[in-house]
Each structure stands twice: as C-alpha cells, then as structure tokens.
C-alpha cells in the first residue's frame, strides 16, 4: 500500500517548500507524468519518495519513517544480523570467497557487489526464516502464501511486505528494503564492510554449504529459464 498523497504532499512541502513540481522531478530524476499520475490516484509509490529524498540529500529511511505505515523505521537503525548480511552477498562473490578461502593468496580480495542481486529477496527471506515465518507473514498481512512465493521468485518485495516480514522475523526493519532494492545498504545504516566481515566470520564448512545451497537454487532457476526459452523458441520456429 503506497503512501497517501496528502501525507506525501505535506512531507514534500516540509522538504522543499519553494520547489515547483517540475524542479522536484528534475532534481529527483523522475518523470513529471509519473509523479502527477501517482498524486492524482492518491497513492505515491515508495520509490518516488526515495528518489526525491536522494535528490534533496535526505536519508530515504528517515523520509519513509515520517509516514505512519513506516513507523517501524523510526529511531536508531537496528543493526542487521550476520545471516542477513551474508544473504545480501551475491552468489558469484560467495563462490569467490570459497575460492579465496581454499587457496589463500590466490586472488586479490574483490569488492563485494552492491545489493540487490538477482536472488536477493529469496536469500533474505530464507536467511531470517525460522520455518514458520511465511505463515506468520500471511497471517498478519493477509497475503496468500502462493503470492508471497511469487514475489520471492520474481525477486520483488513490496516495501510494506518487507516491513511486515522483518517484523514477523524480529529483525531490523530496513533489511527487506535493502533486499528489495528500494534503498542501499548505506542508507539502511549498514557499515560498508559489514557484509565482508560477516562473510569472513563464517567457517569454511558454513561457507561451502551455503555456496552449495545457492548453486542448487541457481541451477533450478536456470533450468526453468532454459525451459521457458525452449518453449518460446518452439513457438517462433512454428509460427514465426
């Protein structure tokens, strides 16, 4: 459920009292028609707010926190758990870490790529799931379990669902927003080296097991993509 446009306009007035809509859109790098449409519909999407906050050098998390829907974000940022941090390491970086750990000194330590990754959302949910998390989320939000799964498969996480999920898991409220790509890890208050440190804290067996799980999941995804691709090619071959 996006932000009500009345509250959004109140916020925007507080942030940029003198800026015209055109200025706001130019500074934020968003289309005027997009913003106008969202205002007319009475619902402003969170990414719009985030873009505008960035344009005006405001922390998007603090901006979101001014809305009642995101009151969880108020106060000091809750540090992410180790599992959450590792979940936001890209699979290829994880594999590199396995190689580095097995053959020390073989390759220079590469920078970890920024989240989100192609499987960020599912990895994050898996990392904080105690086995009952999906049930609790669907109980509190009313989202059907298969719809929740569809989000994970599509690597999407609507911000409100991200908040509800972190609340149900008892972790900091911003983690899901990072995994869903709404905000960066820096904006969420994660220290820049936090993911690397969490990775280094893992034992070799933990690291290898996790890499194995990731590869298994990646294999499944790739197989599905290949099948989709084959289906498409067959249609084109016969009718194109």
């Amino acid at each position: 459920m996006p932000l009500p446009s009345k509250a959004f306009q109140r916020w925007l007035h507080g942030v940029a009292p003198d800026a015209s809509t055109a200025d706001v859109c130019r500074i934020a790098g968003i289309k005027r028609t997009t913003l106008a449409q969202q205002l007319v519909r009475g619902k402003v999407a969170e990414p719009t707010l985030v873009s505008i906050s960035r344009g005006f050098n405001i922390n998007p998390v603090q901006a979101l926190a001014t809305f009642d829907l995101y009151s969880d974000l108020r106060g000091e940022p809750v540090p992410p758990t180790g599992c959450e941090l590792v979940s936001q390491v890209a699979t290829i970086d994880l594999l590199r870490a396995v190689v580095e750990r097995s053959e020390p000194g073989s390759a220079p330590v590469a920078r970890l790529s920024e989240p989100p990754h192609p499987t960020s959302v599912r990895n994050w949910v898996d990392a904080i799931d105690d086995g009952e998390l999906r049930h609790r989320v669907s109980d509190t939000t009313g989202i059907a379990p298969q719809n929740f799964s569809a989000h994970l498969t599509a690597n999407r996480l609507p911000p409100e669902l991200a908040i509800a999920t972190s609340r149900a898991a008892g972790v900091g409220p911003a983690g899901g927003l990072v995994a869903g790509g709404l905000i960066t890890e820096a904006e969420a208050g994660w220290p820049p080296t936090a993911r690397r440190e969490a990775l280094d804290r893992m034992s070799q067996s933990e690291l290898v097991t996790l890499a194995g799980e990731r590869l298994l999941a990646l294999g499944k995804t790739l197989r599905r993509q290949e099948q989709d691709h084959e289906r498409t090619e067959r249609i084109w071959e016969n009718l194109g």
Binding site: D228, R231, T232, R234, I235, W236, E237, N238, L239
Partner: protein
C-alpha cells in the same frame, strides 16, 4: 460499422498474407503463409458482394456457402495442428489430428453436406440470412460453428499457459490476442441465443474473431523479428 468490419478484416488479413510472401518464397514456414491465404480467401468469400458474384457462378444455390464451410474446416484443421505444435501441447495435436479429431472432422463434414442437401437453399444470400430458417438450416449453421469451436477449445489451455508465463512481453501480448480470437469462436457457439434482430452482434463476433486470430499470429511473427533484431544489436 458491421458493414465495414468485414472489409477491414479482409484488408488486414491480406496485408499479413502479402507480408509473408517473401519468407514463404525463402521456404520459411510455408504452412503459415497457406493458413493466412486460406483465412483471407474465406473472409473474401464470406463478404456479401463477392459472395453473391461467386455464388451466382455456382448456380445461386448457396453452394458458395458450402465451399466456405469446408474452406474454414481446412483452415482450422491446419491452423490447429500448427498452433498446437508451436505451443507444445501434444494432447491438443492428438485431439485435432488423432483418431478423435479425424472422427469429429469427418462427422462434421458429412453432416454439413447432409443438412445442406435436405435444406431448400435456393436464393443466394451471404450467410444464408435471406433463407427461411428451419431446423435443418440451424443444424447446418451449428456444424459450421462447431468445428472451429472444437479446435479453439483444444488450443486455449496451451496458449493460456504461454500468456501467463515469463515469455517475452510481445510474445505474450500476441498470444493473448490469438487467445482472444479463439475465445470469441467459443463464444460464437451461443449464437442461437442471439435474437435475429441483433444479427450485427454475430457479424461483430465472427469478424473480430478472425481479426484477433490473424493479428495474434502475425504478432507472434513480429515478436520473433523484434527478438532477433535485439539479439543482433546486442552482440
């Protein structure tokens, strides 16, 4: 509008058919070209002005209409097999080309001729709308709607799976249009419920079905061309 729609449909189908000539000459998917030609020809014969001329040559007994029915049966037979193969539905291919499909086609064909013969069909009129409609003519018309509907019903599930899949957007939109066209054919099974005074509704459904089917098929071709071009540009 229902006077213009048949002609618009014909122009669209003819344009697609002509556009496919070069690839047909290169030997790419000739069957698709034949299918478009058959559809265009069927639409041409079904329109009042050409129909009256052609049926006049054939003796003014609406034999033209009988020919049109069989043209449509042939179109749907070949189109059904091709689409079912393309959308990877072995069960649909079997249902159309297997024993069941052949039996259905044979029964429909025989009954179509039978009902035509026992009806007084003198007096050329497009869609035989100028004739006195008795049970035998109703049955004849039912046969003409039933076979395309049967083929459409076989194809709908497989096409729907593609529309709902992760395939490229253009392909899904085109498949959606094809699905819409075929669904209209299923809807046309309810024609007897439409009162005679609302005949324009039948015309609308029939020609929109043909139009959406053709645009959908052409759209699949188009989506392929776009994807190929994108791939060439990216490499």
């Amino acid at each position: 509008m229902t006077a213009v729609l048949p002609w618009v449909t014909l122009v669209v189908c003819l344009a697609i058919t002509v556009a496919r000539i070069p690839s047909a000459l290169r030997g790419e998917n000739r069957v698709v070209f034949y299918i478009f030609s058959l559809i265009s020809l069927s639409i041409f014969i079904s329109i009042e002005a050409p129909y009256l001329v052609i049926d006049g040559w054939l003796g003014g007994m609406n034999i033209g209409n009988l020919i049109l029915r069989f043209l449509l049966y042939a179109t749907f037979f070949f189109m059904g097999i091709k689409i079912a193969t393309a959308f990877g539905s072995q069960s649909a291919v079997r249902a159309i080309r297997g024993p069941v499909g052949i039996t259905v086609a044979a029964i429909v064909g025989v009954l179509t001729i039978y009902f035509f013969l026992i009806t007084d069909t003198r007096g050329s009129s497009a869609g035989m709308s100028g004739l006195v409609w008795g049970p035998s003519l109703e049955a004849y018309a039912f046969m003409g709607r039933f076979y395309p509907g049967f083929v459409a019903a076989c194809l709908v599930p497989a096409i729907w799976r593609t529309v709902a899949s992760q395939a490229p957007v253009l392909l899904r939109v085109a498949s959606g249009l094809l699905l819409l066209g075929l669904s209209l054919l299923l809807l046309s099974q309810l024609f007897p419920l439409i009162p005679f005074s609302e005949a324009w509704l039948r015309v609308l459904i029939n020609y929109s079905a043909a139009m959406f089917t053709c645009i959908g098929l052409a759209g699949i071709w188009f989506s392929k061309a776009v994807a190929r071009r994108k791939r060439r540009l990216s490499t």
